[in-house]
């Protein structure tokens, strides 16, 4: 099954059987329905579905208003950079209701433009920056376990959040491998090993797992973590693993200048003293504003060399 199909099916089941909610956004129930993301999600007694106008700032206010008044809102958006038009609502309104006891949720379900050919917008593969200014939890979905978690347990949980899916992964077969450890607070462990701790951020799980396979061929095993809640996950298991393995590799394909993955490596607590650290991230801002394939390619041999493996 394709990545987008699994998300669509899970979303459909959740929305159509859930509590009172509104699914809305441009073309959510028309045309390709966001390339299949919201396809076939019809209104039910408890679900209202609205093909909206092109009024993003207003649409963020709308979702926050629905949430404030006890109705779940899911705003599905074809490109995550449209959030920029709603930044006033996402910040000022959201800050203003911080102390409210909320009974409903507001989810921005958005596609991250990480395919590169949109041109300037491709420079906006920087969810963490938007999430950071809005102080809103931001969940990235790479594979089946995170789809289950994000859509089934988070979509309608009280409070606001961003659930982000990758445009580049849309039509690829969804990764369905089981996690080796139960999910804890937005952290997923996808493999276990004793030579290196590999941490995947944003939408790098497919490349990360390929790299881990290549390391296996060299006789090396890895603990592999995916940080799906980029700002909120409890990273204690990652630090513990890194100390155990003595090597930490962090992989992040976002175009955020100050990504949360960087904070992990800063090691302010000194928890990683003596751990060999390698950080793979985007470094070529000049490329970010022109259309290009924008692939984050990992050089397996070079990485192994950097890790001393």
């Amino acid at each position: 099954m394709k990545y987008v199909e699994l998300i669509n099916q899970t979303l459909k089941a959740q929305l159509q059987s859930g509590p009172k909610s509104v699914l809305y956004g441009q073309n959510v129930a028309a045309g390709s329905c966001l390339g299949g993301l919201t396809r076939g999600i019809a209104a039910t007694k408890s679900l209202r579905v609205i093909n909206t106008t092109n009024t993003e700032n207003g649409l963020f206010g709308l979702g926050l208003g629905l949430m404030l008044n006890g109705v779940n809102a899911v705003f599905a958006m074809k490109q995550h950079d449209f959030m920029l038009l709603g930044i006033d609502q996402l910040t000022n309104t959201h800050y203003g209701i911080q102390n409210r006891k909320l009974t409903a949720g507001f989810t921005v379900l958005t596609v991250v433009v990480d395919s590169g050919f949109e041109g300037p917008q491709a420079a906006l593969n920087n969810l963490a920056e938007i999430a950071s200014i809005a102080r809103i939890p931001c969940l990235t979905v790479n594979s089946a376990p995170e789809v289950e978690w994000a859509i089934k347990t988070q979509l309608m949980a009280p409070g606001p959040r961003i659930i982000a899916v990758s445009q580049r992964l849309y039509h690829t077969p969804v990764l369905t491998q089981e996690c080796v450890k139960a999910v804890s607070n937005g952290l997923f462990q996808h493999d276990a090993g004793s030579d290196v701790t590999v941490v995947s951020y944003n939408f790098t799980l497919p490349q990360t797992l390929k790299l881990v396979d290549a390391l296996k061929e060299k006789g090396r095993s890895s603990d592999v973590f995916l940080v799906a809640d980029m700002m909120g996950a409890d990273l204690a298991p990652v630090l513990e693993s890194a100390r155990k393995n003595g090597r930490l590799l962090v992989i992040d394909d976002s175009k955020t200048l100050t990504p949360p993955s960087m904070a992990l490596l800063c090691d302010v607590q000194g928890a990683l003293d003596g751990v060999k650290r390698v950080y793979l991230r985007r470094v070529a801002p000049a490329d970010w504003f022109v259309p290009n394939a924008d692939e984050f390619v990992l050089d397996h041999d070079d990485i192994a060399r950097q890790l001393g493996l």
């Binding site: 028309a30 045309g31 106008t53 092109n54 207003g58 038009l85 050919f117 022109v290």
Partner: protein, 307 residues
């Protein structure tokens, strides 16, 4: 037919032929960037290019190929741009939906709906600061004008009395939703009246008539020092019917971007036989026979440009 009318007719044809050739390249999957064709939109672009004074600048949106062509871009330079080649109109750096060409008067283009409107207000204000008598043109759509920035821009333009003409290309659609499927109607005439802004509505794809009307409006904007909105009724051609078991005649698919699967190039590149096709409208001109005779050679010549 005047020499200018003859020129305008050839420009409409050249634009259509170029777009159909780009469509062929899209069919061949030549481009990685999304391209929004504007077949059916040629008349207004050709008219604006004809009416603008050398200092006037335009700001465009995601659907802009008709203006690129009308403002003088060659087919080859567009093709190469969409293929992201250094020989492209913008050196392969912009692709299609953000393509500007300042040297030709296309100062800025944004694929973010409503984004170009306040920028146009700034461009127009800059002209005032420079004591110039340029008029700024900015193109938007019936979908993009839903953004708050449209209304904010009207307010800014009128408050500063800027010489700016907003062109609303009203094709009734925003992606796959028709106006009636997504919102209440917006009476632009009443809205502009509320702001005391000039309003003009164009329909019928008769380019010489568009030129006359726009020329008069441009003069009014200059003389009275205020902005105007032109609402142009048009259809984005290239729509088609997709086989679908639920629809005996196929499911109607509006053309938005990429391939127009059923549009192909023939000796006379018309796509429908009524006033919604600017190429069809040319048949009503006195020069129709000569235009028909010219088209095949133009097609051959433009095809060879890409060979």
């Amino acid at each position: 037919m005047t020499a200018n009318e003859d020129f305008l007719a050839h420009e409409v044809l050249r634009s259509r032929i170029a777009q159909l050739l780009i469509n062929e390249a899209i069919r061949e999957k030549t481009f990685r960037v999304p391209v929004h064709l504007a077949m059916g939109h040629e008349a207004i672009a050709v008219a604006v290019a004809n009416v603008r004074a050398p200092r006037d600048q335009v700001l465009l949106s995601h659907r802009n190929i008709h203006y690129q062509l009308a403002f003088g871009a060659s087919l080859k330079s567009l093709y190469d741009e969409y293929a992201l080649l250094p020989s492209g109109l913008a050196g392969g750096q912009l692709g299609s939906m953000n393509l500007s060409n300042p040297a030709a008067g296309i100062l800025y283009t944004s694929s973010v709906l409503g984004n170009n409107l306040p920028v146009a207000a700034g461009v127009a204000l800059a002209e005032q600061s420079k004591d110039s008598d340029a008029v700024t043109f900015v193109v938007t759509g019936d979908g993009a004008m839903e953004e708050g920035s449209f209304y904010e821009t009207l307010l800014m333009l009128r408050s500063q009395n800027s010489r700016c003409i907003i062109l609303v290309e009203n094709n009734e659609w925003s992606l796959a939703t028709q106006i009636s499927e997504r919102r209440c109607p917006i009476d632009v005439a009443s809205i502009t009246k509320g702001f005391d802004i000039a309003y003009l509505r164009l329909r019928g794809n008769d380019v010489p008539r568009y030129v006359d009307a726009l020329q008069a409006l441009r003069q009014e904007v200059l003389d009275r020092r205020y902005p105007a909105v032109v609402e142009v009724d048009l259809k984005s051609l290239g729509d088609w019917r997709m086989p679908n078991p639920d629809f005996p005649d196929g499911k109607y698919i509006n053309y938005h971007a990429g391939l127009a699967p059923e549009a192909s190039l023939s000796d006379w590149p018309t796509l429908r036989d009524d006033e919604w096709d600017p190429v069809h409208v040319l048949l009503e001109s006195k020069n129709a026979a000569a235009l028909r005779a010219w088209a095949p050679s133009a097609i051959a010549k433009m095809r060879s440009e890409l060979a």
